[in-house]
Amino acid sequence: MNESTRSEAPYSFGKRNSSSALYDRIFTGLVWGIGILVILFIVGLLFMLLKNGLPKLTWDFLYSIPSEIEEGGGIGPALFNSFYLLAISLIISIPIGLAAGIYLAEFAPNNKLIDFVRICVEGLSSVPSIIFGLFGIALFVEMFQIGLTILGGAISLAFLNLPMLTRITEESIRAVPVEMKNASFALGSTHLQTIRKVLVPVALNGLVTGICLTAGRAFGESAVIILTAGVTTSGVMWDFNLFSPGETLAVHLWYVQSEAIVPDAQEIAQKATSVLIFIVLLINIVFRVPLWLNSRKTKS
Protein backbone atom coordinates (compact mmCIF):
# COMPACT_ATOMS: atom_id res chain seq x y z
CA MET A 1 0.00 0.00 0.00
CA ASN A 2 2.26 2.79 1.23
CA GLU A 3 5.36 0.71 0.57
CA SER A 4 6.82 3.30 -1.81
CA THR A 5 6.51 6.25 0.53
CA ARG A 6 7.97 4.20 3.37
CA SER A 7 11.01 3.11 1.42
CA GLU A 8 12.04 6.71 1.01
CA ALA A 9 12.21 7.19 4.74
CA PRO A 10 15.73 7.82 5.98
CA TYR A 11 15.55 5.27 8.78
CA SER A 12 16.20 1.72 7.75
CA PHE A 13 13.89 0.18 10.32
CA GLY A 14 11.03 2.19 8.91
CA LYS A 15 10.87 -0.17 5.97
CA ARG A 16 11.43 -3.27 8.04
CA ASN A 17 8.68 -2.16 10.32
CA SER A 18 6.18 -1.82 7.54
CA SER A 19 6.90 -5.24 6.08
CA SER A 20 6.69 -6.88 9.47
CA ALA A 21 3.52 -4.95 10.19
CA LEU A 22 2.16 -6.40 6.97
CA TYR A 23 3.23 -9.90 8.05
CA ASP A 24 1.57 -9.28 11.35
CA ARG A 25 -1.66 -8.31 9.68
CA ILE A 26 -1.57 -11.26 7.27
CA PHE A 27 -0.75 -13.62 10.10
CA THR A 28 -3.53 -12.33 12.30
CA GLY A 29 -5.99 -12.68 9.45
CA LEU A 30 -4.73 -16.19 8.70
CA VAL A 31 -5.03 -17.31 12.30
CA TRP A 32 -8.52 -15.87 12.65
CA GLY A 33 -9.61 -17.37 9.35
CA ILE A 34 -8.21 -20.86 9.93
CA GLY A 35 -9.21 -20.98 13.58
CA ILE A 36 -12.81 -20.04 12.95
CA LEU A 37 -13.13 -22.06 9.74
CA VAL A 38 -11.71 -25.33 11.06
CA ILE A 39 -13.70 -25.26 14.27
CA LEU A 40 -16.87 -24.29 12.41
CA PHE A 41 -16.17 -27.04 9.88
CA ILE A 42 -15.90 -29.81 12.50
CA VAL A 43 -18.79 -28.54 14.60
CA GLY A 44 -20.82 -28.10 11.42
CA LEU A 45 -20.20 -31.69 10.34
CA LEU A 46 -21.31 -33.03 13.71
CA PHE A 47 -24.29 -30.72 13.74
CA MET A 48 -25.23 -32.03 10.30
CA LEU A 49 -25.10 -35.61 11.60
CA LEU A 50 -27.35 -34.65 14.50
CA LYS A 51 -29.71 -32.80 12.19
CA ASN A 52 -29.96 -35.74 9.79
CA GLY A 53 -30.80 -38.20 12.50
CA LEU A 54 -32.58 -36.57 15.41
CA PRO A 55 -35.82 -35.48 13.68
CA LYS A 56 -36.38 -39.00 12.38
CA LEU A 57 -36.08 -40.57 15.81
CA THR A 58 -39.07 -42.31 17.28
CA TRP A 59 -39.44 -44.02 20.64
CA ASP A 60 -40.11 -47.17 18.71
CA PHE A 61 -36.67 -47.01 17.10
CA LEU A 62 -34.96 -46.60 20.44
CA TYR A 63 -36.86 -49.47 21.93
CA SER A 64 -37.39 -52.10 19.26
CA ILE A 65 -35.20 -55.02 18.33
CA PRO A 66 -32.86 -54.79 15.33
CA SER A 67 -33.75 -56.86 12.33
CA GLU A 68 -31.36 -58.67 10.02
CA ILE A 69 -33.30 -58.63 6.76
CA GLU A 70 -36.44 -56.53 6.99
CA GLU A 71 -36.87 -52.81 7.25
CA GLY A 72 -37.76 -50.99 10.42
CA GLY A 73 -35.36 -52.51 12.90
CA GLY A 74 -34.52 -50.57 16.04
CA ILE A 75 -31.55 -50.29 18.32
CA GLY A 76 -33.16 -51.29 21.63
CA PRO A 77 -30.84 -54.08 22.80
CA ALA A 78 -27.74 -52.32 21.49
CA LEU A 79 -28.63 -49.16 23.39
CA PHE A 80 -29.37 -51.14 26.52
CA ASN A 81 -26.11 -53.08 26.20
CA SER A 82 -24.18 -49.83 25.85
CA PHE A 83 -25.39 -48.62 29.22
CA TYR A 84 -25.18 -52.05 30.82
CA LEU A 85 -21.60 -52.62 29.69
CA LEU A 86 -20.63 -49.09 30.69
CA ALA A 87 -22.15 -49.54 34.15
CA ILE A 88 -20.41 -52.86 34.79
CA SER A 89 -17.08 -51.58 33.54
CA LEU A 90 -17.33 -48.48 35.73
CA ILE A 91 -18.34 -50.56 38.76
CA ILE A 92 -15.17 -52.58 38.27
CA SER A 93 -12.79 -49.80 37.33
CA ILE A 94 -13.81 -46.89 39.59
CA PRO A 95 -12.88 -48.50 42.94
CA ILE A 96 -9.58 -49.86 41.61
CA GLY A 97 -8.76 -46.66 39.75
CA LEU A 98 -9.58 -44.46 42.75
CA ALA A 99 -7.61 -46.64 45.14
CA ALA A 100 -4.58 -46.73 42.85
CA GLY A 101 -4.77 -42.96 42.34
CA ILE A 102 -5.06 -42.32 46.08
CA TYR A 103 -2.09 -44.59 46.70
CA LEU A 104 0.05 -42.72 44.18
CA ALA A 105 -1.02 -39.33 45.53
CA GLU A 106 -0.97 -40.05 49.28
CA PHE A 107 0.91 -43.14 50.38
CA ALA A 108 3.52 -43.72 47.73
CA PRO A 109 7.09 -43.00 48.78
CA ASN A 110 9.22 -41.02 46.39
CA ASN A 111 11.48 -43.63 44.86
CA LYS A 112 12.41 -45.41 41.65
CA LEU A 113 9.78 -48.11 42.09
CA ILE A 114 6.95 -45.60 42.29
CA ASP A 115 8.36 -43.75 39.28
CA PHE A 116 8.18 -47.05 37.50
CA VAL A 117 4.56 -47.56 38.60
CA ARG A 118 3.73 -44.12 37.20
CA ILE A 119 5.32 -45.04 33.87
CA CYS A 120 3.21 -48.21 33.89
CA VAL A 121 0.02 -46.19 34.40
CA GLU A 122 0.95 -43.76 31.63
CA GLY A 123 2.01 -46.60 29.38
CA LEU A 124 -1.25 -48.40 29.97
CA SER A 125 -3.21 -45.26 29.11
CA SER A 126 -1.43 -45.01 25.78
CA VAL A 127 -2.05 -48.62 24.80
CA PRO A 128 -4.28 -48.63 21.70
CA SER A 129 -7.79 -49.81 22.49
CA ILE A 130 -7.60 -52.66 20.02
CA ILE A 131 -4.82 -54.22 22.11
CA PHE A 132 -7.26 -54.44 25.03
CA GLY A 133 -9.56 -56.25 22.61
CA LEU A 134 -6.86 -58.76 21.68
CA PHE A 135 -6.04 -59.18 25.37
CA GLY A 136 -9.74 -59.79 26.08
CA ILE A 137 -9.89 -62.47 23.40
CA ALA A 138 -6.79 -64.22 24.72
CA LEU A 139 -8.10 -64.03 28.28
CA PHE A 140 -11.82 -64.71 28.03
CA VAL A 141 -12.36 -66.53 24.77
CA GLU A 142 -9.19 -68.61 24.88
CA MET A 143 -8.22 -69.05 28.51
CA PHE A 144 -11.61 -69.12 30.23
CA GLN A 145 -13.54 -70.36 27.18
CA ILE A 146 -16.62 -68.23 27.77
CA GLY A 147 -16.86 -66.87 24.23
CA LEU A 148 -17.94 -63.36 23.26
CA THR A 149 -19.88 -62.07 26.26
CA ILE A 150 -20.97 -58.92 28.01
CA LEU A 151 -18.80 -59.88 30.97
CA GLY A 152 -15.66 -60.19 28.85
CA GLY A 153 -16.42 -56.92 27.12
CA ALA A 154 -17.07 -55.09 30.36
CA ILE A 155 -13.87 -56.31 32.02
CA SER A 156 -11.77 -55.44 28.96
CA LEU A 157 -13.42 -52.02 28.91
CA ALA A 158 -12.65 -51.65 32.62
CA PHE A 159 -8.97 -52.29 31.90
CA LEU A 160 -9.16 -49.52 29.31
CA ASN A 161 -10.68 -47.13 31.86
CA LEU A 162 -8.29 -47.97 34.68
CA PRO A 163 -5.24 -45.87 33.77
CA MET A 164 -7.35 -42.80 32.96
CA LEU A 165 -9.15 -43.01 36.29
CA THR A 166 -5.90 -43.55 38.18
CA ARG A 167 -4.24 -40.53 36.64
CA ILE A 168 -7.25 -38.30 37.12
CA THR A 169 -7.60 -39.32 40.77
CA GLU A 170 -3.93 -38.74 41.46
CA GLU A 171 -4.00 -35.32 39.85
CA SER A 172 -7.18 -34.16 41.59
CA ILE A 173 -6.04 -35.38 45.03
CA ARG A 174 -2.65 -33.75 44.60
CA ALA A 175 -4.35 -30.47 43.71
CA VAL A 176 -5.93 -30.25 47.17
CA PRO A 177 -4.12 -27.54 49.16
CA VAL A 178 -1.78 -29.02 51.74
CA GLU A 179 -3.15 -26.61 54.40
CA MET A 180 -6.49 -28.40 54.35
CA LYS A 181 -4.77 -31.71 54.91
CA ASN A 182 -2.68 -30.33 57.74
CA ALA A 183 -5.76 -28.80 59.34
CA SER A 184 -7.43 -32.17 59.27
CA PHE A 185 -4.42 -33.88 60.85
CA ALA A 186 -4.24 -31.13 63.42
CA LEU A 187 -7.78 -31.97 64.46
CA GLY A 188 -6.50 -35.45 65.21
CA SER A 189 -7.93 -37.40 62.34
CA THR A 190 -6.17 -40.40 60.94
CA HIS A 191 -4.94 -40.65 57.40
CA LEU A 192 -8.00 -42.62 56.30
CA GLN A 193 -10.36 -40.10 57.89
CA THR A 194 -8.50 -37.26 56.23
CA ILE A 195 -8.78 -38.93 52.84
CA ARG A 196 -12.45 -39.72 53.30
CA LYS A 197 -13.62 -36.50 54.89
CA VAL A 198 -11.28 -33.90 53.39
CA LEU A 199 -9.31 -34.95 50.34
CA VAL A 200 -12.00 -36.77 48.36
CA PRO A 201 -14.77 -34.19 48.98
CA VAL A 202 -12.48 -31.31 48.03
CA ALA A 203 -11.24 -33.14 44.96
CA LEU A 204 -14.74 -34.22 43.98
CA ASN A 205 -15.02 -31.67 41.20
CA GLY A 206 -12.02 -33.04 39.38
CA LEU A 207 -13.01 -36.62 40.09
CA VAL A 208 -16.51 -36.25 38.65
CA THR A 209 -15.19 -34.50 35.55
CA GLY A 210 -12.65 -37.26 35.08
CA ILE A 211 -15.18 -40.02 35.53
CA CYS A 212 -17.47 -38.32 33.00
CA LEU A 213 -14.66 -38.10 30.48
CA THR A 214 -13.86 -41.76 31.01
CA ALA A 215 -17.51 -42.78 30.79
CA GLY A 216 -18.01 -40.79 27.59
CA ARG A 217 -15.00 -42.43 26.05
CA ALA A 218 -16.04 -45.89 27.16
CA PHE A 219 -19.57 -45.35 25.88
CA GLY A 220 -18.34 -44.66 22.37
CA GLU A 221 -15.60 -47.29 22.40
CA SER A 222 -16.07 -49.88 19.71
CA ALA A 223 -12.84 -51.72 18.87
CA VAL A 224 -12.69 -53.43 22.26
CA ILE A 225 -16.35 -54.40 22.18
CA ILE A 226 -16.24 -55.86 18.68
CA LEU A 227 -13.43 -58.18 19.69
CA THR A 228 -14.65 -59.18 23.14
CA ALA A 229 -18.44 -58.85 23.14
CA GLY A 230 -19.19 -59.55 19.49
CA VAL A 231 -21.34 -57.88 16.89
CA THR A 232 -24.64 -59.53 17.81
CA THR A 233 -27.13 -59.13 20.60
CA SER A 234 -29.17 -61.84 22.20
CA GLY A 235 -32.16 -60.32 20.40
CA VAL A 236 -34.16 -59.68 23.56
CA MET A 237 -34.72 -56.45 25.37
CA TRP A 238 -33.56 -56.10 29.02
CA ASP A 239 -31.25 -59.06 28.86
CA PHE A 240 -29.23 -58.87 32.07
CA ASN A 241 -27.44 -62.15 31.46
CA LEU A 242 -23.70 -61.51 31.75
CA PHE A 243 -22.89 -64.32 29.35
CA SER A 244 -24.92 -63.25 26.34
CA PRO A 245 -23.28 -61.47 23.42
CA GLY A 246 -23.27 -57.73 23.97
CA GLU A 247 -23.19 -55.54 20.89
CA THR A 248 -23.25 -51.88 21.84
CA LEU A 249 -24.59 -48.87 19.99
CA ALA A 250 -21.19 -47.83 18.60
CA VAL A 251 -20.58 -51.36 17.33
CA HIS A 252 -24.07 -51.49 15.88
CA LEU A 253 -23.39 -48.30 13.95
CA TRP A 254 -20.29 -49.84 12.41
CA TYR A 255 -22.04 -53.12 11.74
CA VAL A 256 -25.04 -51.53 10.05
CA GLN A 257 -22.86 -49.27 7.96
CA SER A 258 -20.41 -51.86 6.72
CA GLU A 259 -21.84 -55.37 7.00
CA ALA A 260 -25.59 -55.36 7.35
CA ILE A 261 -27.92 -56.15 4.45
CA VAL A 262 -31.09 -54.45 5.66
CA PRO A 263 -32.52 -52.10 3.03
CA ASP A 264 -32.83 -49.14 5.40
CA ALA A 265 -29.26 -49.42 6.71
CA GLN A 266 -28.56 -45.81 5.74
CA GLU A 267 -31.39 -44.48 7.81
CA ILE A 268 -30.62 -46.69 10.79
CA ALA A 269 -27.01 -45.53 10.67
CA GLN A 270 -28.07 -41.88 10.55
CA LYS A 271 -30.37 -42.26 13.51
CA ALA A 272 -27.93 -44.39 15.50
CA THR A 273 -25.17 -41.81 14.93
CA SER A 274 -27.31 -38.98 16.18
CA VAL A 275 -28.29 -40.97 19.27
CA LEU A 276 -24.64 -41.81 19.94
CA ILE A 277 -23.44 -38.22 19.61
CA PHE A 278 -26.36 -36.96 21.64
CA ILE A 279 -25.70 -39.32 24.55
CA VAL A 280 -21.96 -38.71 24.58
CA LEU A 281 -22.50 -34.95 24.61
CA LEU A 282 -25.09 -35.39 27.33
CA ILE A 283 -22.72 -37.42 29.53
CA ASN A 284 -20.08 -34.74 29.04
CA ILE A 285 -22.33 -31.76 29.65
CA VAL A 286 -24.98 -32.73 32.18
CA PHE A 287 -22.64 -33.93 34.91
CA ARG A 288 -20.25 -31.05 34.45
CA VAL A 289 -22.63 -28.10 34.33
CA PRO A 290 -23.57 -28.16 38.05
CA LEU A 291 -19.90 -28.45 39.02
CA TRP A 292 -19.01 -25.67 36.64
CA LEU A 293 -21.68 -23.40 38.08
CA ASN A 294 -20.56 -24.35 41.56
CA SER A 295 -16.93 -23.46 40.90
CA ARG A 296 -18.02 -20.12 39.46
CA LYS A 297 -20.02 -19.37 42.55
CA THR A 298 -17.20 -20.17 44.91
CA LYS A 299 -14.70 -18.18 42.86
CA SER A 300 -16.64 -14.94 42.79
Binding site: A100, Y103, G133, G220
Partner: protein, 319 residues
Protein backbone atom coordinates in the same frame (compact mmCIF):
# COMPACT_ATOMS: atom_id res chain seq x y z
CA UNK B 1 9.14 -25.06 46.32
CA UNK B 2 8.16 -28.57 45.38
CA UNK B 3 10.67 -30.08 47.73
CA UNK B 4 9.38 -27.91 50.53
CA UNK B 5 5.86 -29.13 49.87
CA UNK B 6 7.06 -32.69 50.03
CA UNK B 7 8.72 -32.01 53.33
CA UNK B 8 5.44 -30.60 54.60
CA UNK B 9 3.63 -33.62 53.26
CA UNK B 10 5.90 -36.13 54.95
CA UNK B 11 5.58 -34.15 58.15
CA UNK B 12 1.82 -34.26 57.87
CA UNK B 13 1.95 -37.99 57.17
CA UNK B 14 3.74 -38.36 60.49
CA UNK B 15 1.03 -36.31 62.10
CA UNK B 16 -1.44 -38.91 60.90
CA UNK B 17 0.47 -41.49 62.91
CA UNK B 18 -0.14 -39.55 66.09
CA UNK B 19 -3.01 -41.89 66.84
CA UNK B 20 -0.45 -44.56 67.66
CA UNK B 21 1.22 -42.56 70.36
CA UNK B 22 -1.99 -41.44 72.00
CA UNK B 23 -2.83 -42.91 75.39
CA UNK B 24 -5.94 -43.63 77.33
CA UNK B 25 -8.68 -46.16 77.60
CA UNK B 26 -9.96 -45.90 74.07
CA UNK B 27 -7.79 -48.80 73.02
CA UNK B 28 -10.60 -50.46 71.06
CA UNK B 29 -11.25 -47.45 68.99
CA UNK B 30 -7.57 -46.92 68.43
CA UNK B 31 -7.03 -50.48 67.32
CA UNK B 32 -10.02 -50.27 65.06
CA UNK B 33 -8.80 -47.05 63.46
CA UNK B 34 -5.35 -48.47 63.03
CA UNK B 35 -6.75 -51.58 61.45
CA UNK B 36 -8.95 -49.57 59.08
CA UNK B 37 -6.04 -47.37 58.17
CA UNK B 38 -3.69 -50.17 57.35
CA UNK B 39 -6.38 -52.18 55.56
CA UNK B 40 -7.16 -49.18 53.40
CA UNK B 41 -3.50 -48.64 52.70
CA UNK B 42 -3.03 -52.25 51.68
CA UNK B 43 -6.11 -52.09 49.43
CA UNK B 44 -4.64 -49.02 47.74
CA UNK B 45 -1.28 -50.72 47.25
CA UNK B 46 -3.04 -53.75 45.82
CA UNK B 47 -4.96 -51.55 43.37
CA UNK B 48 -1.80 -49.83 42.18
CA UNK B 49 -0.09 -53.18 41.81
CA UNK B 50 -3.10 -54.43 39.85
CA UNK B 51 -2.78 -51.60 37.33
CA UNK B 52 0.85 -52.57 36.74
CA UNK B 53 -0.15 -56.20 36.57
CA UNK B 54 -2.64 -55.44 33.79
CA UNK B 55 0.06 -53.80 31.70
CA UNK B 56 2.44 -56.71 32.22
CA UNK B 57 -0.33 -59.22 31.64
CA UNK B 58 -1.04 -57.57 28.31
CA UNK B 59 2.63 -57.38 27.36
CA UNK B 60 3.24 -60.97 28.34
CA UNK B 61 0.15 -62.41 26.67
CA UNK B 62 0.66 -60.47 23.45
CA UNK B 63 4.30 -61.44 23.28
CA UNK B 64 3.74 -65.08 24.12
CA UNK B 65 1.05 -65.44 21.50
CA UNK B 66 2.74 -63.25 18.92
CA UNK B 67 6.13 -64.88 19.11
CA UNK B 68 4.62 -68.21 18.04
CA UNK B 69 4.40 -66.68 14.54
CA UNK B 70 8.08 -67.27 14.09
CA UNK B 71 7.71 -71.01 14.41
CA UNK B 72 6.57 -71.08 10.82
CA UNK B 73 7.36 -67.67 9.43
CA UNK B 74 10.87 -66.33 9.27
CA UNK B 75 11.70 -63.08 10.95
CA UNK B 76 12.74 -61.55 7.64
CA UNK B 77 9.53 -62.54 5.88
CA UNK B 78 7.30 -61.05 8.55
CA UNK B 79 9.07 -57.70 8.68
CA UNK B 80 10.40 -57.26 5.14
CA UNK B 81 7.89 -58.90 2.83
CA UNK B 82 4.75 -57.10 1.70
CA UNK B 83 3.02 -60.25 0.59
CA UNK B 84 0.10 -60.88 2.96
CA UNK B 85 -1.79 -63.97 1.85
CA UNK B 86 -2.46 -66.08 4.94
CA UNK B 87 -4.60 -68.61 3.08
CA UNK B 88 -1.51 -69.61 1.13
CA UNK B 89 0.86 -69.32 4.04
CA UNK B 90 2.45 -66.01 3.21
CA UNK B 91 2.73 -63.65 6.14
CA UNK B 92 4.49 -60.48 5.08
CA UNK B 93 3.41 -57.68 7.41
CA UNK B 94 5.51 -54.94 5.85
CA UNK B 95 2.57 -53.45 4.00
CA UNK B 96 0.64 -52.94 7.25
CA UNK B 97 3.66 -51.49 9.02
CA UNK B 98 4.25 -49.21 6.06
CA UNK B 99 0.56 -48.29 6.02
CA UNK B 100 0.58 -47.34 9.70
CA UNK B 101 3.76 -45.29 9.37
CA UNK B 102 2.60 -43.54 6.20
CA UNK B 103 -0.85 -42.85 7.61
CA UNK B 104 0.54 -41.43 10.84
CA UNK B 105 3.04 -39.27 8.98
CA UNK B 106 0.40 -37.95 6.60
CA UNK B 107 -1.99 -37.26 9.48
CA UNK B 108 0.64 -35.32 11.38
CA UNK B 109 1.62 -33.45 8.23
CA UNK B 110 -1.93 -32.16 7.88
CA UNK B 111 -2.94 -31.85 11.51
CA UNK B 112 0.11 -30.29 13.19
CA UNK B 113 0.14 -26.95 11.28
CA UNK B 114 -3.62 -26.57 11.70
CA UNK B 115 -3.55 -27.55 15.36
CA UNK B 116 -0.72 -25.20 16.23
CA UNK B 117 -2.44 -22.35 14.41
CA UNK B 118 -5.66 -23.07 16.28
CA UNK B 119 -3.76 -23.25 19.56
CA UNK B 120 -2.17 -19.85 18.81
CA UNK B 121 -5.59 -18.55 17.85
CA UNK B 122 -7.08 -19.75 21.13
CA UNK B 123 -4.26 -18.68 23.40
CA UNK B 124 -3.06 -15.43 21.86
CA UNK B 125 -5.45 -13.91 19.38
CA UNK B 126 -9.05 -14.48 20.42
CA UNK B 127 -10.97 -12.14 22.67
CA UNK B 128 -11.75 -13.66 26.02
CA UNK B 129 -15.44 -14.40 25.48
CA UNK B 130 -14.72 -16.37 22.30
CA UNK B 131 -11.97 -18.31 24.05
CA UNK B 132 -14.30 -19.26 26.87
CA UNK B 133 -16.76 -20.48 24.27
CA UNK B 134 -14.34 -22.38 22.04
CA UNK B 135 -12.33 -24.23 24.68
CA UNK B 136 -15.29 -26.23 26.01
CA UNK B 137 -16.36 -26.91 22.41
CA UNK B 138 -12.95 -28.41 21.62
CA UNK B 139 -13.07 -30.39 24.87
CA UNK B 140 -16.38 -31.83 23.81
CA UNK B 141 -14.98 -32.70 20.38
CA UNK B 142 -12.23 -34.75 22.05
CA UNK B 143 -14.95 -36.95 23.51
CA UNK B 144 -16.79 -37.75 20.28
CA UNK B 145 -16.53 -41.53 19.61
CA UNK B 146 -14.15 -42.54 16.85
CA UNK B 147 -16.77 -44.63 15.09
CA UNK B 148 -18.74 -41.42 14.49
CA UNK B 149 -15.74 -39.89 12.74
CA UNK B 150 -15.45 -43.04 10.66
CA UNK B 151 -19.09 -42.78 9.71
CA UNK B 152 -18.55 -39.15 8.84
CA UNK B 153 -15.67 -40.09 6.58
CA UNK B 154 -17.60 -42.86 4.91
CA UNK B 155 -20.77 -40.89 4.20
CA UNK B 156 -19.51 -37.35 3.69
CA UNK B 157 -15.81 -37.28 2.98
CA UNK B 158 -15.46 -40.20 0.56
CA UNK B 159 -18.29 -39.18 -1.82
CA UNK B 160 -16.84 -35.69 -1.72
CA UNK B 161 -13.31 -36.92 -2.52
CA UNK B 162 -14.76 -39.07 -5.30
CA UNK B 163 -16.34 -36.00 -6.89
CA UNK B 164 -13.19 -34.00 -6.50
CA UNK B 165 -10.82 -36.53 -8.03
CA UNK B 166 -13.19 -38.21 -10.46
CA UNK B 167 -12.08 -41.67 -9.31
CA UNK B 168 -14.38 -44.60 -8.67
CA UNK B 169 -12.79 -45.35 -5.34
CA UNK B 170 -11.64 -42.71 -2.92
CA UNK B 171 -10.83 -45.07 -0.05
CA UNK B 172 -7.24 -44.94 1.00
CA UNK B 173 -4.55 -43.12 2.87
CA UNK B 174 -5.75 -39.59 2.13
CA UNK B 175 -9.32 -40.21 3.28
CA UNK B 176 -8.07 -41.94 6.43
CA UNK B 177 -5.58 -39.17 7.11
CA UNK B 178 -8.27 -36.50 6.83
CA UNK B 179 -10.58 -38.38 9.17
CA UNK B 180 -7.75 -38.88 11.66
CA UNK B 181 -6.86 -35.20 11.36
CA UNK B 182 -10.39 -34.21 12.33
CA UNK B 183 -10.08 -36.64 15.23
CA UNK B 184 -6.71 -35.63 16.66
CA UNK B 185 -6.99 -31.92 15.91
CA UNK B 186 -8.97 -31.05 19.06
CA UNK B 187 -6.53 -33.06 21.22
CA UNK B 188 -3.37 -31.48 19.81
CA UNK B 189 -4.85 -27.97 19.78
CA UNK B 190 -6.06 -28.10 23.37
CA UNK B 191 -2.84 -29.50 24.81
CA UNK B 192 -0.73 -27.01 22.79
CA UNK B 193 -3.12 -24.27 23.83
CA UNK B 194 -2.44 -25.11 27.48
CA UNK B 195 1.30 -25.11 26.79
CA UNK B 196 1.16 -21.72 25.07
CA UNK B 197 -1.01 -20.22 27.81
CA UNK B 198 1.52 -21.40 30.39
CA UNK B 199 4.27 -19.21 28.91
CA UNK B 200 4.85 -16.47 31.50
CA UNK B 201 3.41 -13.10 30.61
CA UNK B 202 6.72 -11.37 31.28
CA UNK B 203 8.26 -13.05 28.22
CA UNK B 204 5.62 -11.45 26.04
CA UNK B 205 5.94 -8.10 27.76
CA UNK B 206 9.69 -8.16 27.25
CA UNK B 207 9.25 -8.97 23.59
CA UNK B 208 6.72 -6.19 23.06
CA UNK B 209 8.95 -3.79 24.96
CA UNK B 210 11.72 -4.50 22.47
CA UNK B 211 9.36 -3.24 19.79
CA UNK B 212 8.30 -6.50 18.17
CA UNK B 213 4.74 -6.95 17.04
CA UNK B 214 2.44 -9.86 17.71
CA UNK B 215 3.62 -11.99 14.80
CA UNK B 216 7.24 -11.66 15.85
CA UNK B 217 6.42 -12.23 19.50
CA UNK B 218 4.53 -15.43 18.77
CA UNK B 219 7.10 -16.91 16.42
CA UNK B 220 10.30 -15.80 18.13
CA UNK B 221 9.27 -15.97 21.78
CA UNK B 222 6.03 -17.75 22.60
CA UNK B 223 6.30 -20.78 20.31
CA UNK B 224 9.95 -21.54 21.17
CA UNK B 225 9.15 -21.17 24.86
CA UNK B 226 6.26 -23.62 24.62
CA UNK B 227 7.87 -25.99 22.14
CA UNK B 228 8.21 -28.81 24.63
CA UNK B 229 4.51 -28.73 25.43
CA UNK B 230 3.68 -28.68 21.75
CA UNK B 231 5.90 -31.70 21.11
CA UNK B 232 4.10 -33.45 23.96
CA UNK B 233 0.77 -32.60 22.32
CA UNK B 234 1.96 -33.92 18.98
CA UNK B 235 3.13 -37.18 20.53
CA UNK B 236 -0.26 -37.57 22.22
CA UNK B 237 -1.98 -37.02 18.90
CA UNK B 238 0.42 -39.42 17.24
CA UNK B 239 -0.33 -42.13 19.78
CA UNK B 240 -4.01 -41.67 19.12
CA UNK B 241 -3.54 -41.79 15.36
CA UNK B 242 -1.42 -44.95 15.46
CA UNK B 243 -3.81 -46.84 17.68
CA UNK B 244 -7.05 -45.67 16.12
CA UNK B 245 -9.04 -48.53 14.69
CA UNK B 246 -12.67 -47.97 13.87
CA UNK B 247 -12.41 -44.61 12.16
CA UNK B 248 -9.63 -45.96 9.95
CA UNK B 249 -11.31 -49.27 9.17
CA UNK B 250 -14.28 -47.50 7.66
CA UNK B 251 -12.36 -45.38 5.17
CA UNK B 252 -9.09 -47.12 4.32
CA UNK B 253 -10.45 -49.76 1.97
CA UNK B 254 -9.12 -52.85 3.77
CA UNK B 255 -7.17 -54.39 0.93
CA UNK B 256 -3.88 -56.13 1.56
CA UNK B 257 -1.78 -54.18 -0.90
CA UNK B 258 0.94 -51.64 -0.37
CA UNK B 259 -0.25 -48.07 -0.87
CA UNK B 260 1.45 -46.62 -3.94
CA UNK B 261 -0.80 -43.57 -4.13
CA UNK B 262 -3.00 -41.57 -1.82
CA UNK B 263 -6.12 -43.20 -3.20
CA UNK B 264 -5.07 -46.85 -3.23
CA UNK B 265 -7.21 -48.96 -0.94
CA UNK B 266 -4.81 -50.39 1.61
CA UNK B 267 -4.72 -51.52 5.23
CA UNK B 268 -2.90 -50.61 8.43
CA UNK B 269 -1.99 -52.73 11.46
CA UNK B 270 -5.11 -51.89 13.45
CA UNK B 271 -7.61 -52.21 10.60
CA UNK B 272 -6.17 -55.54 9.54
CA UNK B 273 -6.36 -56.94 13.06
CA UNK B 274 -9.98 -55.97 13.60
CA UNK B 275 -11.10 -57.18 10.17
CA UNK B 276 -9.48 -60.61 10.38
CA UNK B 277 -9.26 -61.58 14.03
CA UNK B 278 -12.83 -62.83 14.39
CA UNK B 279 -12.61 -65.17 11.42
CA UNK B 280 -9.47 -67.10 12.33
CA UNK B 281 -8.78 -69.99 14.68
CA UNK B 282 -6.91 -69.02 17.83
CA UNK B 283 -4.34 -71.79 17.39
CA UNK B 284 -3.17 -70.80 13.92
CA UNK B 285 -0.18 -68.99 12.51
CA UNK B 286 -2.56 -66.44 11.02
CA UNK B 287 -3.85 -65.54 14.45
CA UNK B 288 -0.35 -65.51 15.92
CA UNK B 289 0.72 -63.12 13.17
CA UNK B 290 -2.17 -60.80 14.07
CA UNK B 291 -1.08 -60.89 17.71
CA UNK B 292 2.48 -60.13 16.65
CA UNK B 293 1.15 -57.07 14.83
CA UNK B 294 -0.68 -56.07 17.99
CA UNK B 295 2.54 -56.51 19.95
CA UNK B 296 4.30 -54.20 17.50
CA UNK B 297 1.63 -51.53 18.07
CA UNK B 298 2.00 -51.98 21.81
CA UNK B 299 5.78 -51.56 21.67
CA UNK B 300 5.48 -48.45 19.48
CA UNK B 301 3.04 -46.79 21.86
CA UNK B 302 5.15 -47.66 24.93
CA UNK B 303 8.25 -46.25 23.27
CA UNK B 304 6.38 -43.00 22.68
CA UNK B 305 5.43 -42.79 26.35
CA UNK B 306 9.04 -43.27 27.38
CA UNK B 307 9.95 -40.49 24.92
CA UNK B 308 7.40 -38.18 26.55
CA UNK B 309 8.78 -39.01 30.00
CA UNK B 310 12.28 -38.28 28.78
CA UNK B 311 11.16 -34.92 27.39
CA UNK B 312 9.46 -33.97 30.64
CA UNK B 313 12.46 -34.99 32.73
CA UNK B 314 14.81 -32.93 30.60
CA UNK B 315 12.39 -30.02 30.87
CA UNK B 316 12.44 -30.18 34.65
CA UNK B 317 16.22 -30.25 34.75
CA UNK B 318 16.57 -27.30 32.40
CA UNK B 319 14.10 -25.02 34.06
Amino acid sequence: MIEMNQAVQTASAELGNSIRTGSGKSFDRRARLRWANSAFRIACIAAAAFVCLVLFGILFLMFRTGVLTFQEVSFAEFFFSADWDPENGRYGALLFIFGTVALTALTLLISVPFSVLIAVFLAEVTPKWLRNLLRPVLDLLVGIPSVVYGYLGLTVLIPWLRDMTGKDLADGLLAAAIVLTIMVLPTISRVSDDAISAVPKKYRDASYALGSNRFQTIFRVVLPASSRGIVYAVILGMARAIGETMAVVMVIGNTAQIADSLFTPTAVLTSNIVMQISSVEFESTWNYALYMMGFLLLVISLIMIVAVRFLQKRGVRES
